[in-house]
Symmetry: C2
Subunit: 432 residues, 2 copies
């Protein structure tokens, strides 16, 4: 085995922002990586959609193909690196690669969120590994720590800012960057948001990532439809002003929390107390806080996206896979599942709430609102009532103590019918 | 091999704060860990110094021994967990265990800092692993991320708050907790500082941990004597007042930084700009920031000590070793060393500085001090001059721009001789 210094053949799927980074770094650092693992890594094929697209660095045109079979059927390809994104055709390619006994490294959160359990089982059957560090948190190590370093713990909580686009937009809004539409347009102009931002601003991307984290953290299979999801499009500039006044930041949070045999899974904007570290995670940064019975709380923070940070995680996985391939070592990851865990219905989730209610500026309205909340067993922690400049209405901002979501929603329905209330303009959950 | 459900025999060395936690958790979570790795873990011997000491949980007295040979010579012991601390006799035991082909998990920073390279080589020779996640940062995963997850990077910087005792003392001083002596006494009363606090307050413990981190980060062998070290005992209450006024926190930092083929290695108190995350790492928390060419900066934060957090890391390593033992998989970690790297002499380190100088309150002193600094090419960023209540002297606090350590030290010598200067009362480096 000592004489086996042959190159480990890589099939690279995708040559976009991340794929270009991976290809370039594997070339630039070929020597150091070879010293690291004892054998060179060699890209044998690169799968692209449009071979005529100009590339700003030297990838041998002879390697470029539009036919996935060139990668999947080549016995010299021992490792597939998939950085195409989107569910199809990536999902089919990864399944085929694993069935062909190839190691796989992927950055694909959608495929891992929807098909991770099946693909990991396929990998085990074929004695290969499927690695996906780059699918969550860009350059932040978070998958490997959950898979290994925190394994002694009973993990009870995952709280994460894991979508850079929305965090960039919310950071901008909190600094006076205008309405959601204006902040989105600015983010798009700077390349921090896609032309179609739906996946990001509606929390879909964050929900995929939460599925991946929660599956590892709680040892249960979590699917996108298990996650309660609310986007950031309805946040108003005034919410940021009130939040600051009350001592909070507003972030899109992805949260998983185990309570007994139930697991909360939710992605929504939330008020975070300003003195918590997550409140100061600004711009395109990501952060993941994991809470366990032994280590209490550990926070991981870093760049959540971008070509080079994502390349950092993809190549780390590739080096790990290369050591396995080179040494013919198959590391059997656990697929332990905790029986009896189930997703908590959103109705049963308890939280504190921030309510912004438009009212006719008449005496008695606040008392009537307070009465409705009280009837539902929801107590008020603080109230701000302000005139809205140049309008006939005023605005009441209420922070509640902890309440059950279903009770709160029922109370809101009644509040909408209270005389003097023009509308419930905002409802946000508050991180405790 | 499928039928091999025998228990994996563990020899536990040490039954202090951490050892008790490890023993208790291995008992409490025996079922879940067995499901995790497919075989039970069983403590076969526990090495203690004083067998008559009462233990507050049920460890079978028949397992307790004062003779290390009982563990090392037992062929049924496949894994040694060492949580005794101190260099000897732990170092000899670990060497013997590895030479006997046993896997080893240790939390011993002193042994790893002084003998890590040799022990890791011994482990490789005998196809076993030596794991030491708990030696740095308590419950924070940092060794494994450096060994694996960040490996694609050229790591250029490690900046860490890795001593909980000093961080607790400094946090307390910054909140008006009195002089160093008073804050130390309070920390001792609360169990956050040892009766003999030398290792902590002189930065010795932090230097050990920096050796371990820097060896992994920079792929060079770093020893305790390579680390420039300055403790926190000379910090005054007024330094915290001035630091806050200037917009900084004061922390004991452990820093490694690669510049070309030289590596800075230093442990000393430093001013940190208040808007940096490290500035808000308070109390007994630890945090490690790693900077690399691909992932830019990633921060790991969590509890740096304590029985359960350290147990979290020790048991994670034990589970990892158990998978290796159970599956007869030896994972070959890289021992890549970068040739040509050397430790930068402290004289050549460049930093900004905070100087607190006692002066007779006479006109012209500041001008003369500024002249000395200017002659040495050191420019002043800001100055505070204040009367010291009820004394004949005043105090000048100077923040410099970046300067070479040797130039600064020479300038300080001259400043001490300037007419009107009563003394250079404090010199602190400033993190940029």
């Amino acid at each position: 085995m000592a004489s086996d210094r042959r190159a480990i053949g890589i099939g690279l799927m995708g040559l976009g922002v991340v794929g270009s980074g991976v290809a370039r770094i594997l070339q630039q650092k070929a020597d150091v990586y070879e010293r690291q693992i004892g054998r060179p890594l060699a890209i044998r094929h690169v799968l692209v959609r449009d071979p005529s697209k100009p590339r700003d660095f030297g990838i041998d045109p002879a390697l470029v193909t539009t036919n996935a079979r060139d990668l999947l059927a080549d016995p010299e390809v021992e490792l597939i690196i998939e950085v195409m994104g989107a569910e199809e055709p990536a999902y089919g390619y990864l399944r085929d690669a694993l069935q062909a006994g190839k190691f796989v490294v992927t950055a694909n959160k959608e495929v891992m969120a929807k098909h991770g359990a099946e693909l990991l089982a396929t990998a085990r059957e074929h004695n290969v590994d499927l690695l996906y560090e780059a699918s969550v948190g860009g350059g932040i190590p978070i998958i490997a720590p959950l898979k290994r370093d925190l394994l002694a713990n009973d993990i009870v909580g995952v709280t994460a800012i894991i979508n850079g686009t929305t965090n960039f937009i919310l950071s901008s809004m909190s600094k006076g960057g205008g309405s959601f539409g204006e902040a989105l347009a600015a983010a798009q102009a700077l390349g921090f948001a896609e032309p179609d931002p739906t996946n990001d601003v509606e929390g879909i991307d964050a929900a995929y990532k939460l599925c991946i984290l929660a599956t590892l953290a709680f040892h249960m299979d979590v699917h996108p439809e298990d996650v309660f999801r609310e986007g950031i499009t309805k946040l108003g500039e005034r919410d940021f002003v009130y939040a600051r006044e009350l001592g909070y930041a507003i972030k899109l949070l992805a949260m998983g929390r185990k309570e007994g045999d139930q697991v909360q899974l939710r992605v929504h904007p939330a008020l975070i107390p300003a003195d918590q570290l997550l409140a100061s995670v600004d711009g395109a940064l990501n952060a993941v806080e994991i809470e366990g019975d032994l280590m209490s709380r550990v926070l991981f923070q870093g760049p959540g996206a971008g070509s080079l940070p994502t390349t950092s995680s993809v190549v780390a996985d590739a080096l790990d896979a290369a050591v396995s391939i080179s040494n013919k070592v198959y590391w059997p990851h656990s697929s332990r599942r905790e029986a009896g865990l189930r997703v908590m219905p959103m109705d049963d989730v308890r939280s504190r709430y921030y309510l912004r209610i438009g009212v006719a500026d008449k005496p008695g309205v606040l008392a009537r609102i307070a009465g409705v909340l009280s009837d539902r067993g929801i107590s008020i922690a603080s109230v701000i009532q302000k005139e809205v400049d140049g309008q006939a209405t005023a605005e009441i901002v209420i922070m509640t103590h902890e309440a059950r979501e279903a009770d709160l929603q029922r109370a809101l329905q009644e509040i909408r019918g209270v005389v003097g209330v023009s509308g419930v303009d905002q409802v946000l959950r508050v991180k405790s």
